[in-house]
């Protein structure tokens, strides 16, 4: 995984609650066996006027001109702004892969669904929960004064908007460390192999029916 470094980018506002992973990446694109190539189909049903098919070239498709991802300068944005319960629904990690492919590295919302929240960290995407009042303010900022950019400094746990407002956010220390260093979770867990083996040995005695394969 790539290290999460400090960067500046445009904020893409989608002023909705409950943006589900079916909306982020519709199911027909889940047939892929790869982890990349989903960016053109991010928010497919909202972004295009026609129905998207997996593997098809998106360059000639009719665009929904009103949708924020199709407008300048948002289409080059790297922050996504939404309201409550972002990423609810299906566990599909494809939703995060699509966001990342499109170039979104930070999602700011009032709250997140748990599985989506987890999936973000596995892919170097940072989910930031801010109080609803701040979220409202950011939407209003975009609405009234037009597109704006933010800077993210994960080390300092601070988001700074271009007009100098600073938003501090909370993040689990360990997750922060993994993002900053670009660490691989599986490698980290495998360092605890002795603990895992000890657990299995103990548990196989307590609950042998769970470990028919580990019985002598």
């Amino acid at each position: 995984m790539k290290k999460f470094i400090k960067y500046t980018g445009v904020v893409i506002p989608i002023n909705r609650d409950n943006i589900d992973t079916d909306a982020i990446i519709p199911k027909q694109f889940l047939k892929s066996v790869d982890k990349s190539g989903f960016g053109d189909n991010l928010f497919d049903a909202w972004r295009y006027e026609d129905q998207g098919e997996p593997g098809a070239d998106c360059s000639g498709r009719p665009l929904n001109k009103d949708f924020v991802l199709n407008r300048k300068p948002y289409r080059d944005g790297s922050f996504l702004l939404a309201r409550e319960n972002f990423g609810c629904g299906s566990s599909r990690e494809h939703a995060v892969w699509a966001l990342r492919d499109f170039g979104i590295r930070t999602v700011i919302a009032a709250s997140f669904a748990d599985i989506f929240h987890n999936n973000c960290f596995k892919n170097g995407v940072l989910p930031i929960a801010l109080p609803l009042a701040d979220i409202e303010w950011l939407f209003a900022r975009d609405d009234e004064q037009g597109a704006f950019s933010m800077e993210i400094d994960l080390e300092r746990q601070a988001l700074t908007s271009e007009d100098g407002n600073v938003y501090r956010f909370e993040i689990d220390e360990f997750k922060k460390h993994c993002l900053l260093e670009g660490l691989d979770d599986i490698g980290l867990t495998l360092q605890h192999e002795p603990d895992i083996s000890a657990y299995e040995a103990r548990r196989a005695k307590e609950a042998p029916w769970l470990f028919p394969d580990l019985q002598l």
Binding site: A23, K31, K35, G89, S91, E93, F174, H177, I196
Partner: protein, 467 residues
């Protein structure tokens, strides 16, 4: 010391390493795999030259995009075919047990697990699918994970996780005739909202849960995720034990007795403290129908479509307006007057034998209304299908004008050929009514199997008891 909740007990039993600042490491007893969320996980293993830690802890089944019509000719859609074949190949290469598309035990992963006894009380169970919550009905801690975590569990048999808070939802009272656990869970989601359970594990309790069958309990836990909770659980009781006895993967002989002793402990202590609790009396519950594009947008069949002007806040007002726009519905419309184009009975929510029996009790001796373009019955597994056929339910459905299909996810998420066309309206027993879920531009109303069958024969939603 205060008592422990069922969730606390399950969590403690699986702790490999306590959290040291970050997440804890917990042990995973079972992983269920399917074709959509596993290919990238297997590819990751291969790239890192890793192998699954415990083959016997895994079971794979193709369900999401298998055809539900005659399968002898294979899959038409080349992309779906590649995905299903990739699962077959990965399982063969790594040595994981798979029920492939032609296996009589094949079906929706969340129907197959309990049916085979692969799901057992006291286990931690994961699957790259959010409706893994279903398995919690047997007193297991079961939750959906993403593909990176699928790979993580394959490689380590563990997961980094953080303990959730405890919520109890107490459902008291006796359900009226024609009501189902689907109505209860829709009512719960209507009350607490789709993010009401975020950050919690929900334990369902109360007399209505104690009196519910194992199948009905699975329907409740299935939709815990629609209330925002990754896991829903129900305490073990005699029904749980009876359900597990003699299933192919259940413990047998001395192990069964030993297991039952341990399973009996899987209840919340009387003095356990929950971080949140909701108590709902279901005595007067009426059939529930969703009217919007989120499962929390739900009302009873006697109600009218609400007016966004009456929404509790600005965010909801916009959400309701957008939903009504998408659903092509006007505020004030009687729910019972809404006509549907298609009917879908199946999915991991309501594709079990009891669901098919309930739907058949309505279909028996009646005909699908002329305005219905298609009424599908898709059993949750090959064994459910066979059981239904042994009981003659297939004849009842076919005689009434329903189509009787092969098992799979089907029109729940429309990854195969079963789907809504733009603008079509469907009464569905599945669990999600998101925009486009059942097909681009399709409109989904979530209901119980009884209501779905009633809508099929009446052509519109109606009180099933008045048919």
């Amino acid at each position: 010391m205060t008592g422990k909740t069922l969730y606390d007990k399950l969590w403690n039993q699986h702790l490999v390493r306590e959290a040291d600042g970050g997440d804890a490491l917990i042990y995973i007893d079972r992983q269920l795999l399917h074709e959509v969320t596993s290919p990238q996980a297997f590819a990751g293993l291969r790239d890192a030259k890793r192998v699954p830690r415990r083959l016997a802890a895994n079971l794979a089944v193709a369900d999401h995009n298998v055809p539900t019509t005659d399968r002898s000719a294979g899959i038409d859609d080349p992309i779906a075919k590649l995905q299903v074949e990739t699962l077959d190949r990965n399982c063969a290469e790594f040595g994981i047990t798979e029920f492939n598309m032609t296996d009589p035990r094949q079906g929706i992963v969340h129907v197959v697990g309990p049916e085979q006894g692969v799901t057992q009380p006291g286990m931690t169970i994961v699957c790259g699918d959010s409706h893994t919550a279903t398995h919690g009905a047997l007193g297991a801690l079961a939750f959906g994970i993403g593909t990176s975590e699928v790979e993580h569990v394959l490689a380590t048999q563990c997961l980094m996780a953080r303990k959730m808070k405890n919520m109890r939802i107490v459902l008291n009272g006796a359900l009226a005739e024609g009501m189902a656990s689907k109505d209860m869970i829709l009512r719960v989601i209507g009350e607490i909202g789709t993010s009401g359970g975020t950050g919690y594990t929900i334990e369902f309790a109360g007399s209505a849960v104690e009196n519910a069958s194992m199948e009905a309990r699975m329907t409740l836990c299935n939709m815990a995720i629609e209330a925002g909770a990754r896991a829903g659980i129900i305490a073990v009781d005699q029904k749980t034990v009876d359900y597990l006895r003699g299933r192919p993967y259940s413990p047998s002989g001395d192990h069964f007795d030993l297991a039952v002793k341990a399973w009996r402990e899987l209840v919340s202590d009387p003095d356990a403290v929950f971080d949140a609790e909701h108590v709902i009396d279901v005595t007067d519950l009426r059939p529930q129908v969703t009217w919007g594009t989120s499962p929390e947008m739900v009302a009873s069949v006697d109600d009218v479509i609400p007016d966004p002007a009456d929404a509790p806040d600005e965010g909801k007002r916009e959400g309701w307006s957008r939903a009504l726009d998408y659903m092509a519905l006007e505020p004030g419309t009687q729910i019972g007057s809404i006509e549907v184009d298609k009917v879908f009975i199946g999915a991991c929510t309501n594709g079990r034998i009891e669901d098919l029996r309930a739907a058949a009790s309505i279909a028996r001796g009646r005909r699908v209304a002329p305005n219905i373009k298609q009424a599908l019955v898709v059993p949750g597994s090959g064994l459910v299908k066979k059981q239904a056929e042994d009981e003659g339910l297939d004849r009842i459905f076919i005689d009434a004008g329903f189509e009787w299909r092969e098992p799979g996810c089907s029109m729940c998420l429309a990854m195969n050929a079963d789907r809504l066309e733009p603008g079509e309206r469907c009464a569905a027993t599945s669990n999600r009514n998101f925009e486009g879920r059942q097909g681009y531009g399709g409109r989904t109303h979530l209901v119980s199997p009884v209501m779905a069958a009633a809508a099929a024969v009446a052509g519109h939603f109606t009180d099933p008891n008045k048919l």
